[in-house]
Symmetry: C3
Subunit: 344 residues, 3 copies
């Protein structure tokens, strides 16, 4: 695609040779000749000078010259995303069908325009809504109900009675509805399994990453609210309830029966103890360990987690501890001297 | 089911309309009309007043009225678990068989009453004990030996020579026997693979959650002792040995060659360095980072982990650090004044 | 195998009965009669006296007698690894073939000597290099290109356009190329998906553990450099770039767009925030939380992570905090006394 065409399509101002043939998009660092790149985060401004890209999309007020062509736009991040789509070759869609190697129980009900991939297994009593795509090698357990326009990537598995809303996306290898981790301790210290006879409910517009695990409830429902987004390798224990439009980043773990509100953000590797409540709009920092309820809109960090302003003071305090110790030592010497003088 | 029937079956005292038709169980918060709920943890007592449940199972000495019917019992948690089972519809069991799409090597030996699901692959030399269920899409590697009455959920995989005892439950997506993480560093900084030619042994009555990884030994055996329970997304490295009736919560990681005793509890996201020993009955708190041996029955928390009483003092100390700094500053001023006075 | 034969093959000096029949290798603790074990790490020296092994491989200067036979060698770890291989029974290789249950798209190109296991699914446009083994139940997405002599264990999945070099090993359940975690927040707090239209590139000689997740780039490439080794349950977000010969231990998490240099070591459960840079040869300790760039060759620990020498002082400071508080209390009392005396 000609650089001048790109500039026109994103409504940008071109500086440089519009006849350049652009063949791909790339980050500033890894771009090669023929690539177009972009600068959005000022942190990377220094990389523009060194990039091998043939052109860079920059903010309108970019004040440094580059050795390559520039396209000035209002929102460089957004313009670049647009350009990236010009070069994107989508995976060709096969017409919806049930692959002949899929094993679909007779009692399962598939809606209109449903795609069932190779080697999928669908148990009895399953219902799949219109337009939903189940990619190869998924397992859909007994009486699972899946809404319309969902997309299950390969090797997802759902256990019996799972309920999935509409427009839900689940990435490869994710497990929904495995048994909760519940045992009764016997007198000899051995553990007997407490039956986990609840289910998992995933509401509309939820997206779940790869290799996530969401356990079924002991009884009742583990629930993920509408529009919530869950990243890879997250663990959600039995009877957890998550509100709407919340975000759980990679490797977060939530223990049993905790209640996460709406529009909550749990950053990467954060862990929550069981039977807690995290209020609406709260933010839990990366690697934080939440041991007690978090009020709505609070922002907590640390392990154990506390309000981030308090935590920052504590962290600042610990970092200057060696200095504080020195001061105390000096004081002790001076006080000893003063005491001795007084005694004399 | 009539509420009066439920009260009778759990041996409880009914207060309210016994003719109410109960159709499901649910937690206090999410219950709707027709549901029965329960109060066991006093933390949730306030929720009884607001619940939409038609009935609540409460402890005998519950002293507050509710707008719904009550059933008083000695152990409300246990009674509710019993009621939950009244409403549980189990997944219908197919008669044991090998699904026609399963690929079972000729040399594999299947016991009596074994179920092999759709698209399962069983390698040569595998032995499966009586009554064991291997759900769809599992992979059982060369010469793996599985005991009796085990249950493998879909998409479990075991590598060659794995040994599994009796009554072992393994949840979806778990990998048993993958290579340990071992490399020899070359002079140029590159790494060459050290062959991982040991195996994994899982003893009787172990339960393993979803998407867990347990690596085979470099040589010898990685071993999980009888009755131990492992939650989702746990990582167990090569040559780790775990004793009997221990518990490893979600996202725990144990590094190579560490030895975990019996009746040990590793709470969620705890991590252990390699070549450590954790004594019998020890408890490692959530998110703790264990860097040295833990004595039997010790309870450690923190990263680096230390005895929980010591750790609590340290944490309390850090939280009051800003105050301590103020005190030192004040002392410095006073001492300066005293010294000046003395000099004068 | 006779013990004398073993001693001869490893070039060691035998002390004891060379006619002993050795049948297996094992660690000192779990060895039984007929096993040969070894001592390499002095930490385990005390275990030699108590082992049930019939023979132990020891360093040449081992000065304590044992009740079992000994083989003295220069490098006992290496000699034992050699012996372990004498007893290793490799999994018999089937001649390379495409299993009849595999579903391979017509447009896919398979090299010479390629093995495709049972129930594998290979999408259109895929290219697989000579000698590569794809074990059962893998999914290889549209136009994925895999080099020569790679080994994919069962149930690996790659999404469309993934590029894999030569001699790459990927363990069970790993997901390569799932969507990055990127959303645009709307005014009402809901999130809309940002298309993730980049890809993943895995260079030559990389090994990736079990149940790992590596997300595709938002645009451009997520890249894992030549010779890098990744352990189980690691999470690598979109647009991360990892250099050559780096090591990422179990359960590490790297957030979006971070750049990891070459010969970097990220120890277990370490987490990195997004848009960071970790310089060549840097080491990040276990469970560390990296919040800002790490200079080349630096060694950081802690959460938030800092240089390990500074961090050790801080940790030492926190551990002695209760003592420091005592000292300050004492000083306050003495200063109060001195002030009172002065006033009088």
């Amino acid at each position: 695609m000609k650089l001048s065409d790109i500039a026109e399509r994103v409504g940008g101002v071109l500086e440089g040779n519009g006849d350049l043939e652009i063949t791909a998009v790339a980050g500033l660092r890894e771009a090669a000749r023929g690539d177009i790149s972009f600068l959005a985060n000022p942190k990377y401004a220094a990389q523009v000078a060194g990039t091998h890209a043939s052109a860079v999309i920059v903010p309108q007020d970019w004040d440094r010259a580059g050795k390559c062509a520039l396209i000035r736009v209002e929102n460089s991040d957004q313009a670049f995303a647009q350009v990236a789509e010009f070069f994107y070759e989508p995976v060709p869609l096969s017409p919806p069908a049930v692959h002949p190697t899929a094993v679909v129980a007779e009692g399962a009900k598939l809606g209109e325009g449903v795609s069932i991939g190779a080697h999928v297994v669908i148990d009895d009593g399953v219902v799949v809504g219109d337009g939903t795509v189940i990619e190869p090698q998924c397992f859909i357990g007994y009486k699972t109900v899946i809404g319309s326009n969902c997309h299950f990537y390969p090797q997802v598995s759902t256990r019996e009675f799972t309920e999935i809303g509409n427009n839900v996306i689940v990435h490869n290898g994710t497990v929904i509805g495995s048994d909760g981790f519940g045992y009764a301790v016997q007198e000899d210290g051995s553990r007997t399994k407490i039956p986990q006879i609840g289910k998992v409910v995933i509401e509309d517009d939820v997206e779940i990453g790869a290799n996530v695990t969401i356990d079924r409830a002991r009884f009742g429902k583990t629930r993920i609210g509408k529009g919530t987004k869950i990243d890879n390798l997250v663990q959600i224990a039995h009877n957890v309830v998550v509100g709407e439009h919340s975000v759980m980043c990679g490797q977060v773990g939530v223990s049993g029966s905790s209640i996460i509100g709406s529009k909550v953000i749990l950053a990467g590797q954060a862990g929550l103890a069981g039977h807690l409540e995290v209020g609406d709009g709260a933010i839990v920092g990366a690697q934080s360990g939440v041991m007690r309820d978090v009020p709505a809109k609070d922002f907590v960090i640390g392990s154990p987690a506390m309000n981030h302003l308090q935590a920052k003071k504590v962290i600042a305090g610990t970092v200057t501890l060696p200095k504080l110790k020195e001061k105390v030592k000096k004081l002790e010497a001076e006080v000893a001297k003063l005491s001795a003088a007084k005694t004399v």
